[in-house]
Symmetry: C2
DNA sequence: AGGGTTTCATATTGATCGCTATGAATCATG
DNA sequence: CATGATTCATAGCGATCAATATGAAACCCT
């Protein structure tokens, strides 16, 4: 059942006539712009250059294709985890997440906003499992940032009285809101200033480190 | 063509067998929870207790029903405009918008989140006009807040160097993000702390007023 | 070349979408 | 009660939805 076996040995039978990775990229762009339910199979076949039966053979069904597109979206060179892990301070982690979001939401070759933030904000009752899958990924990023903040409270970078939940939640809320602003047409330059304004809410240092 | 004439005089013909306002309220709740394209006509007929032909006779088509539901959503006793107009300071206006949003997004008898923020964040190409209508309403609220901020910069409540665009944009972004947090299940108490955290970004007073 | 295997393109499935044609039912009026 | 006006419920419209049945086409191996 492995459709992407580890060994790229030439398999028997008629070979695939399309680039699976390129097709997945096109699907991701469509889901990014139009959301999960706003993207139809005929939209996908047209953009991917692949007929419906081939899509189902290669990716399963629409639901699994979407989830794989989300994984691809979240598995770029820079991820939320890598930003948080690579930041010297919790403040740098938050600022890094915000500025990476601004850059990602206003790319010239990608739809505006965030796939994770907009693909299933609203959906029919039939797509609730998809919505929850995205909510879990959003919550995971927030949890990672909260952990980094708690660590900063222990080292003294942040005051011990800091509300880690609210601080992480505020950063996440701004990121989600930046996605909406980008979708509504705001330029990268304005979003950058909004992100910097959000960082003005960051608490002053605790005991000197 | 007036389907809601000013005079409630008894009209000729068979009377309406349903409460138009109550039906509109049910439609609003459905659009609130499932969005514009996530709510089907059969969903609406079931919740409103009205058959499809009666809906079309009373409201036009799905698009106009949705826009009327949005108007109803935005025309409660407290509106963004009334909060901004009733606030003594720009800071109070922003804080008032944030706390009213938290309350509205976590009502016990209403769906979580904001109808304006979630109904058409993502949609198919066919619903772009609906999306733009909501974007315009979002932009209107942000513009009203920005005007209030500019006024505060003139009176000295805020420093003259204040970035009014970014300050208003930050408040709007947080409001949009609070809607997502509410949809993802966060409690009102946490959202309140996030809103207060966001207000920590508010600039210090300019010259003493 | 021929058998085995996999993917291909074509055409179609049943379900649901937004919307409406049709005629009976219910009102005010004469 | 008869007439005109309006809304009612039933049933169905064409279009599109996600997903598939079918058989030919393209590859590896012997």
């Amino acid at each position: 059942m492995n459709h992407a076996d580890t060994k790229p040995s030439r398999r028997i039978g008629r070979p695939l006539s399309f680039d699976r990775d390129a097709a997945l990229h096109q699907a991701m762009l469509l889901f990014w712009r139009y959301g999960y339910e706003g993207t139809s199979l005929s939209d996908l076949t047209a953009a991917m250059g692949v007929t419906a039966p081939s899509i189902y053979a290669a990716f399963g069904d629409k639901r699994r294709l979407f989830l794989e597109a989300v994984d691809r979206y979240l598995s770029g060179p820079v991820t939320a985890k890598s930003i948080i892990a690579g930041a010297a301070t919790a403040r740098e982690a938050a600022a890094g997440l915000l500025h990476a979001s601004v850059a990602g939401f206003t790319g010239a070759d990608t739809p505006p906003g965030c796939l994770l933030a907009s693909a299933t904000i609203s959906c029919s009752a039939a797509a609730m499992d998809i919505q929850q899958a995205l909510a879990a990924r959003r919550g995971g990023i927030e949890a990672d940032l909260r952990v980094r903040i708690l660590k900063a409270m222990e080292t003294g970078e942040l005051p011990a009285r800091t509300d880690a939940d609210a601080l992480a939640g505020h950063v996440m809320a701004v990121i989600q809101g930046l996605s909406t602003l980008a979708r509504d047409g705001d330029a990268r330059e304005k979003l950058t200033r909004v992100a910097e304004m959000a960082m003005a809410a960051w608490p002053e240092a605790g005991r000197p480190g």
